[in-house]
């Protein structure tokens, strides 16, 4: 009841409702553009949240995530080009329905399933975040250090690509976090006599560089995406009878979305594909999947919108993001001086419940805005790609400059963009680097505080039972992932050998 009061107060005394609606609109438009993922859509907004109050700022980012998950399904259904990775599963049956002249119906199913999943995810978030966060009350300095190590290990293990490269990216993120004035002793580290580096490298610069600028660099070499027909811009919401047919698929999608959202490194894409497969497995007409089955849209769309809610559970409880989008959201929290964890609920209940209230408004408004914004979204997708990318580049450069009025920041951001491009090229995941950067201070500060208390005795990390448990979990993740890595490397080596033999045979 107290939470409801806080939420109502936040919604009525701050511009949180406008932020929720604005975030959903921005999210749908951004998500609808092929190549512009929810995390990029959020990263583009991040500079604008600097000057805002914390509640509308974070509601804006979280609502963008909600909107982008739906927005990705629009080009997936209309032109078989998923706007987001998570919408790839939707394109299978969505585009089939579109070819059958049922594109409006497919979009309606996507929207309704997204809203359903969004509310289920939000309910889980409201019910379970605070009890989980209270677990962290028992954490000491060594436990917080080990929690940071666990976070990076898990993300590096579960990210796409090789474990070694994931860990290397995590260590590189931690290295970037050491730049600047050491907060404990006041000495400068890696500043190269540059005054601009004394405060450290702000993670927003690295995030926008890695996600947005590197995507612009990648997109500059890709061909124009396909265009949608203007006549396709009418949504048909499913009637009650049709809705009943979708309940089971939506339930499967939401259940998987709850699980995957809380799992670090999983995210909406895996949830969407898993729920698609499960919905087919449990369907009475599995043969219809791939030929325009409405359940083939309902399950993945419920799943990825559920993830948009449940992915916030580990962020708000422990400060450990599980995906790129939630890493941006964590960046937004830290920008406003909000440290996730149990104290967030004690010290800033107005913020936490305001965020929950804002997300409820965002999910509700998605139903109406999703219909209203479809035409502008199609118009935007149909603009020439060079114009769109030029506008995004201008927005990125202007937005980042507006934070500190510093051209030096822009050089760092472009540098991060170049690093991001090479990381994509060489198969390094972004998330461990971002996580290393965001968690760098938490890890180092708690490491040094713990050793300060014990006069430099490292046994403290093993003697503390929570710390020990977290370190064992981190080690298990790394060892398990290494075993998987070795197995996959052997399989790839065999495949490569077969390819070599085949190409040699073909040459003879």
């Amino acid at each position: 009841m107290e939470g409801l009061t806080h939420a109502w107060h936040a919604l009525t005394t701050t511009p949180a409702i406008f932020a929720a609606v604005g975030g959903v609109v921005w999210g749908i438009l951004g998500g609808a553009l092929p190549g512009i993922s929810p995390s990029i859509t959020m990263a583009l907004l991040l500079p604008f949240t600097y000057g805002m109050d914390p509640i509308p700022a974070i509601v804006l980012l979280a609502s963008t995530y909600v909107g982008a998950e739906y927005g990705g399904s629009i080009p997936a259904i209309l032109i078989r080009t998923p706007g987001t990775n998570a919408a790839a599963a939707t394109s299978v049956d969505g585009y089939e329905m579109q070819k059958q002249g049922r594109g409006g119906e497919a979009l309606g199913i996507s929207l309704v399933s997204g809203v359903t999943g969004g509310f289920i995810g939000l309910s889980f978030l409201v019910l379970f975040t605070e009890p989980l966060a209270s677990v962290a009350l028992a954490f000491s300095f060594p436990a917080y250090f080990s929690l940071g190590i666990l976070g990076i290990s898990v993300i590096a293990s579960l990210s796409s690509g090789s474990l070694v490269k994931g860990l290397m990216a995590g260590v590189a993120g931690l290295m970037i976090a050491t730049v600047g004035t050491d907060p404990m002793s006041g000495v400068s580290r890696f500043t190269f006599h540059q005054a601009e580096l004394l405060g450290g490298i702000e993670f927003i610069l690295v995030m926008v560089g890695l996600f947005a600028v590197s995507e612009l660099l990648v997109q500059s070499g890709r061909p124009e995406w396909r265009k949608a027909e203007r006549s396709q811009s009418r949504i048909r919401l499913p009637k009650f009878r049709a809705w009943r047919r979708l309940w089971k698929a939506q339930g499967i999608g939401s259940a998987i979305g709850i699980f995957e959202g809380c799992m670090p490194g999983a995210g909406g894409s895996i949830a969407a594909f898993m729920s698609y497969n499960e919905a087919r497995r449990w369907s009475r007409e599995p043969e219809q999947f791939g030929k325009g089955a409405p359940e083939g849209i309902a399950a993945p769309e419920s799943a990825n919108n559920t993830v948009a809610g449940t992915a916030l559970v580990p962020v708000l409880s422990f400060g450990i993001p599980g995906s790129n989008s939630t890493a941006i959201l964590l960046g937004g929290l830290l920008i406003h001086g909000l440290q996730p964890g149990p104290l967030l609920f004690d010290r800033h209940p107005d913020f936490v419940y305001g965020l929950f209230g804002g997300l409820a408004v965002a999910n509700l408004s998605l139903l109406f805005i999703g219909m209203a914004v479809l035409t502008p979204a199609i118009w935007l997708v149909n603009r020439p790609k060079p114009y769109l990318l030029a506008c995004i580049y201008a927005l990125v450069l202007s937005g980042i400059y507006s934070i500190n009025h510093s051209l030096f920041d822009l050089y760092i951001m472009l540098g991060a963009g170049a690093v991001g491009y090479f990381m994509r090229l060489l198969g390094f995941p972004f998330l461990p680097m971002v996580l290393g950067l965001v968690l760098g201070y938490l890890i180092e500060a708690n490491y040094r505080r713990a050793l300060q208390l014990t006069g430099g005795d490292h046994m403290v990390f093993i003697e503390d039972p929570i710390s020990l448990g977290l370190l064992i979990a981190a080690a298990l993740f790394v060892v398990g992932s290494a075993a998987r890595d070795i197995h996959m490397a052997r399989r790839d080596a065999r495949r490569k050998a077969e390819e070599r033999l085949a190409s040699r045979d073909a040459g003879q």
Partner: protein
């Protein structure tokens, strides 16, 4: 002997150099009287060791991968071919790949050029030039329509940032002309 060194070995070697340079920098962090049991260089040095160790693992992994591949090829009673033989199976040819990287480098260069000119030409003109150049670079026709679009976007961003959000963007040399 390896006919062509695998990519991961190059990455590992470059990372080793990076870890060494970072360790060198960490070693030069001054000791402060405020340092407690752990000084400000301890974590950076630990990270340098960790990155170096991971780079070595990557190199060993790449060598092991190559060894397994060659052994599998040898079991197929054939002479192992170099990686160059795989080019035919790669989806994209080398020329297209280089072109793609050049386009990315060009895009980055346009951004750097913008940063060089913006203090002199001011925000509005520089951002208009940026939009025009990026769009033209991405093969939009550099016609009057693009010129109008670039100008409109520059004015829109000026109104958004300077007038609406009250953010002082670089004015360039224009105010000095007026005064």
């Amino acid at each position: 002997m390896l006919r062509r060194i695998p990519k991961d070995i190059w990455i590992g070697l470059a990372t080793l150099v990076l870890a060494g340079a970072y360790w060198f920098g960490a070693d030069r962090i001054p000791i402060s009287p405020l340092d407690g049991a752990v000084n400000a260089a301890a974590m950076p040095k630990a990270l340098a060791y960790a990155l170096g160790a991971l780079a070595l693992v990557l190199i060993v992994r790449a060598l092991a991968f190559e060894l397994i591949t060659r052994r599998a090829v040898a079991e197929g009673k054939q002479e192992p071919g170099g990686d160059s033989e795989l080019k035919a199976t790669d989806g994209e040819d080398t020329g297209a790949r280089y072109k793609r990287h050049l386009r990315a480098a060009g895009m980055l260069a346009i951004g750097i050029l913008y940063l060089i000119i913006v203090p002199y030409l001011g925000y509005v003109l520089s951002i208009a030039l940026l939009v025009f150049t990026v769009a033209a670079f991405m093969q939009a026709r550099p016609d009057r329509k693009l010129l109008i679009l670039s100008g409109s976007i520059a004015i829109f961003f000026y109104l958004l940032f300077v007038r609406f959000l009250d953010i002082p963007l670089p004015p360039g040399f224009w105010p000095s002309l007026v005064s």
